[in-house]
């Protein structure tokens, strides 16, 4: 019998895998993809709660999370393209202008 904690544990696994990806990888595009992975794991949490509490609000919030994620990806990829124009690399270690 699959119940709420199963979905929450799976969502926690996906979220922490996204965190490990953001902290470990050096390619800015892969870091961005791991951020999307984290957003999706949170979506799964919301929808699991929406079903197990009988409340539609969880799904409404996921709707808005998807809208915000789409806008964020558009602007974020524009920023990455501009960074590539200046630096000719996507390695985050070379984006150190603010390093003291």
């Amino acid at each position: 019998m699959v119940s709420l904690p199963h979905y929450l544990v799976l969502s926690a696994i996906l979220f922490s895998m996204g965190v490990i990806g953001v902290l470990t990888r050096k390619n800015i595009l892969i870091i961005f993809m791991c951020i999307e992975l984290m957003l999706n794991s949170v979506n799964l949490t919301f929808i699991a709660f929406a079903r197990h509490l009988g409340n539609i609000e969880g799904q409404i919030f996921v709707f808005f999370v998807m809208a915000v994620a789409a806008a964020e990806v558009a602007v974020g990829l524009a920023i990455i393209v501009i960074l590539f124009r200046f630096k000719s690399t996507v390695n985050v270690d070379s984006m150190n202008l603010m390093k003291w």
């Binding site: 119940s3 996906l14 979220f15 979506n43 799964l44 998807m66 524009a78 690399t89 070379s94």
Partner: protein
């Protein structure tokens, strides 16, 4: 039936998420992420969120990942020599922090007593009619603000990408 599907989807999701964070080639990561999105759409159907499953496939796998793949292809990343080699302590610290976060999340989430039993929830909860009714009555203001947000994202992306006009333009005769 739900249990079999849950475990099949769970193994597929974890394996494809591992591909996302471990692959050397960003295209391989993108394909792993697309598989994760499809598996999550399957989960949403299992959890009575049919409309969101369709939106997930259309928006995430169909628009966002296509945008990612276009940018990866346009940047045309060559196999450049590694200027900054991956430090082993950095890798270890990243994995340790992720592990600690996972343990914290586990402690927080499994302490929840599974409240309402899902058998009382009807399968029409996530239908587009139900979701649309709530979106256009109770949550109308966030809906309109989301449309303004998308407009500002479009304008922002276009303004960012636009190259500044060249300084040495020959004047019209």
């Amino acid at each position: 039936m739900e249990a079999i599907l849950f475990w099949i989807f769970a193994v597929t999701a974890i394996v494809s998420a591992l591909v996302v964070i471990l692959a050397k080639n960003p295209i391989t990561s993108a394909l792993g992420l697309i598989v994760t999105f499809f598996v999550l759409a399957g989960y949403y159907v299992l959890l009575s969120a049919q409309f969101l499953a369709a939106v997930q496939v259309i928006v995430y796998a169909g628009a966002i990942m296509v945008l990612f793949l276009f940018v990866i292809m346009l940047l045309n990343l060559q196999r450049l020599p590694e200027m900054f080699p991956q430090s082993r302590t950095g890798l270890l610290l990243g994995v340790v922090v992720g592990g600690i976060l996972f343990l914290l999340a586990l402690k927080a989430l499994t302490g929840i007593s599974a409240a309402g039993s899902p058998s009382q929830v009807d399968v029409d909860m996530g239908s587009s009619a139900n979701l649309g009714t709530r979106l256009f009555t109770t949550y109308f203001l966030p809906f309109e603000i989301a449309s303004v947000l998308l407009l500002s994202a479009i304008i922002g992306a276009v303004v960012l990408i636009r190259r500044p006009p060249d300084a040495d333009q020959s004047p019209d005769a």
